[in-house]
């Protein structure tokens, strides 16, 4: 893992925005070039700091969306704009190609998927919690890994799915190359779906290949309430809590 190989304290680095890409009406991917970037492991995040001319600053954490291998100094963040957010509106709307962005990272060695781990992987995403899990999916592809991956992705409605095209492509890539994806629509289900919109429940999370006895590595990411609910369902279903790793987005996010 990149971070473990490099000893050194984190410092603030300045990256430059080289591209931006809309993912949904409210989420945008920012591509950054960060000179001196040491690389990162899938699941890690950065802290982003914005400073106003009078010195006032605000800081938030964002998961890295891109896989690291051979990316050099390039990394991607996907930011969901929150209505009353202080930082996310700046990142999702104001920031333009050429702008500087101060960040610190890569951070976190626990909520990380190791391509050398043969255990099947269950990813559970709530809304913009898909971001670090997408980094894991991309890292799996970059490593040409055949480890079975299953993604359960809760969204409000079909148009709030981030990376929808890419997820479809990866799903269709075939049984061992692809990733199996289950969507849980909590507000508006698409036409033809097998049931009305509903919150995530045990049925979505218990599927063959990812049962407790198969000891999958589980990664859950999303708003705090969602993560709590999912972790509860999984532990009650018999999953070893030690194999469940969580990343909560608190109300302070945004």
């Amino acid at each position: 893992m990149a971070r473990a190989a490099v000893l050194g304290r984190l410092n603030w680095l300045v990256g430059t925005v080289t591209a931006v890409r809309d993912e949904t009406a409210t989420a945008r991917t920012i591509v950054l070039d960060v000179p001196g970037w040491p690389g990162h492991a899938p699941g890690q995040h950065v802290d982003v700091r914005l400073t106003a001319p009078d010195g006032y600053s605000a800081q938030r954490s964002y998961s890295i969306a891109s896989a690291s291998a051979s990316a050099g100094s390039r990394l991607e963040l996907t930011v969901q704009r929150l209505e009353d957010g202080e930082v996310s509106p700046y990142l999702a709307q104001t920031l333009e190609v050429g702008y500087p962005l101060e960040l610190r990272g890569p951070i976190g060695g626990w909520f990380v998927w190791d391509p050398a781990d043969p255990a099947p992987v269950l990813l559970v995403a709530g809304g913009s919690g898909i971001v670090p899990l997408m980094a894991m999916i991309r890292a799996r592809a970059a490593a040409d890994s055949k480890v079975p991956f299953r993604l359960v992705y809760s969204v409000r409605s079909p148009d709030t799915v981030i990376y929808s095209g890419e997820l479809l492509a990866r799903e269709q890539a075939g049984e061992s190359d692809g990733v199996s994806v289950t969507y849980v629509y909590t507000r508006t289900a698409p036409p033809g779906s097998d049931g009305p919109a509903r919150r995530i429940g045990p049925a979505a999370l218990t599927a063959d290949g990812w049962l407790p006895k198969q000891a999958p590595a589980v990664f859950v990411c999303g708003p705090t309430g969602y993560v709590e609910a999912v972790a509860g369902i999984l532990t009650r279903a018999g999953h070893d809590p030690g194999l469940i790793k969580t990343e909560r987005f608190g109300p302070t996010g945004g």
């Binding site: 473990a4 000893l7 304290r9 990272g105 060695g109 626990w110 705090t224 608190g250």
Partner: protein
């Protein structure tokens, strides 16, 4: 419901420690439970960062920063096991 995972400490601790602490295994000095620091409950909205034991809720780690000082209290952890790169 008002807490985050230990990952939320990673940035601040990363300025003090040369190695990642979120994957380190700590033993709670109050109840003896061991676990990854990533599993701690972090209360980020305070005049400092506070990490609490997910089992007994006692304080594990406290960290305060000003512009050029950090104050760190690790008394809540009786032992911290850190992964270091192997010697060459």
């Amino acid at each position: 419901m008002e807490y985050l995972d230990g990952n939320a400490l990673g940035g601040a601790l990363g300025e003090v420690f040369a190695v990642d602490v979120t994957a380190a295994v700590g033993q709670c000095a109050s109840c003896g439970t061991s676990g990854a620091i990533g599993q701690a409950r972090v209360y980020p909205d305070a005049p400092g960062l506070i990490a609490r034991c997910p089992t007994c809720s006692e304080v594990l780690i406290r960290l305060v920063r000003d512009a050029n000082r950090a104050w760190l209290d690790l008394r809540g952890i009786s032992c911290l096991q850190l992964a270091l790169p192997a010697d060459r």
